[in-house]
Symmetry: C2
């Protein structure tokens, strides 16, 4: 409002776009705890008036914060602060695996090679019987799938379930983002074509056995082997085949 508005007295800021002001203000209010998860914000019209911008600009600000996973809009009901859980804030992550090609996919796998072994080891140390049972059930679903999209989905679920056991939601969200559906679909198709589906199945079995034994070292090793196997295949695929193709549906 007044020129003495800010805690930062010097507003030397290069005149920022109008739309950005509401974004920063709202983000700050959340960071400071003045807005808490689930809180309802004023209507877009009121917000626009409060921040002295048009409704269009306010809408763009809200949309930005929605994309970032900070806000949540319900048509006809209002704008709310999201749960602010990592899964919300990291949803945007998936675009990386969604549109990345070539080298970046290799990089993604290298990161997974750092995360999944550590996560699997942690899971081995913490897993409850019920959690292990669930993982086992998913494993069955992979085998019985026969290579279709169900198998791909089950494969994803398998790894997600393991990471979830660690109890670290941030880790789980990051790992989810690094594993996209289309990405895994390519790997499975490649393996099936090469007749190496058995190899993947063996990897999964080893990981599962390590979890059952609650052996972190074995779990780490098994997970490392698995990711490396996928990475090895992807490298071969990128060299030989078309690096830009993506699978539909």
């Amino acid at each position: 409002m007044s020129p003495t508005d800010g805690p930062s007295p010097a507003p030397p800021a290069t005149r920022m776009p109008v739309t950005r002001r509401p974004i920063e203000r709202i983000k700050a209010m959340i960071a400071e705890g003045r807005l808490r998860p689930g809180d309802r914000l004023p209507t877009e019209r009121d917000l626009a008036h409060e921040f002295e911008v048009s409704r269009s600009s306010m809408r763009e600000a809200v949309r930005t914060l929605t994309t970032l996973g900070v806000l949540e809009v319900r048509h006809g009901a209002g704008v709310y602060v999201s749960s602010l859980r990592p899964a919300d804030l990291l949803e945007t992550f998936s675009v990386l695996a969604e549109i990345s090609q070539g080298d970046t996919l290799i990089e993604v796998l290298q990161v997974r090679r750092m995360l999944e072994p550590a996560a699997t080891a942690l899971a081995a140390a913490r897993a409850t019987d019920a959690q292990l049972e669930r993982v086992g059930a998913i494993l069955d679903r992979i085998s019985s799938g026969g290579g279709g999209r169900e198998t791909v989905a089950a494969d994803l679920t398998f790894h997600q379930a393991i990471v979830q056991i660690t109890g670290n939601a941030t880790l789980a969200a990051i790992n989810d983002g690094l594993s996209s559906r289309t990405f895994n679909a390519r790997v499975w198709r490649g393996h099936c074509a090469d007749g190496q589906a058995a190899r993947l199945r063996q990897d999964h079995e080893r990981i599962y056995q390590a979890l059952l034994a609650r052996d972190p070292d074995a779990a780490r090793a098994a997970a490392t082997m698995h990711v490396m196997e996928v990475e090895r295949w992807l490298r071969a695929d990128l060299e030989s085949g078309s690096p830009d193709r993506a699978e539909a549906g």
Copy 2:
């Protein structure tokens, strides 16, 4: 509009919001390689006409894709496909460290505990003399800073430079996202208050020595120790102090 508009003509898709169509179409075009990094898109007005939406909706779509790091807008010049490098696509990541509180901060550090040791080990194996020299220079800047915001910035740069040596841009982008300025500022304030700045300095020195020796194992161990030290302090801070406070600029 017309009565034949239809409950669902053929596409089973649950009628998606109008704004979403351009988003998905453009994302698909990029994933398929029909739009490449740096390509210029038609004007917002033309795009709106092409996708049969109003310009407002088209703008919201563009803004969403901009927030995701897929597009880039230059006022007066046009809309362009971003470089699609991981650093672009993962920029949104920082909001996590920016507004997370309490438990999530611990989770973030746990993830860093998985990534930084592996990254530092990799860096030790790959670093060139020039890269090591740069890291050494940054280290000097931390020591000479005296605990001010310059020191904090140098601390961040130190870790970023190391991760950058791995050559994995995706890893670097993720790690950047997990290390926020305000977060590190809190840690430094805490350590200075406790008179333990020397401890951090020692950690950094150890990491640097391991890199110089090109010893991956030592680098991994040193990095692990460092992150654990930070985690230890954070845990104490969260228990004793106010868990929601954030430092300004």
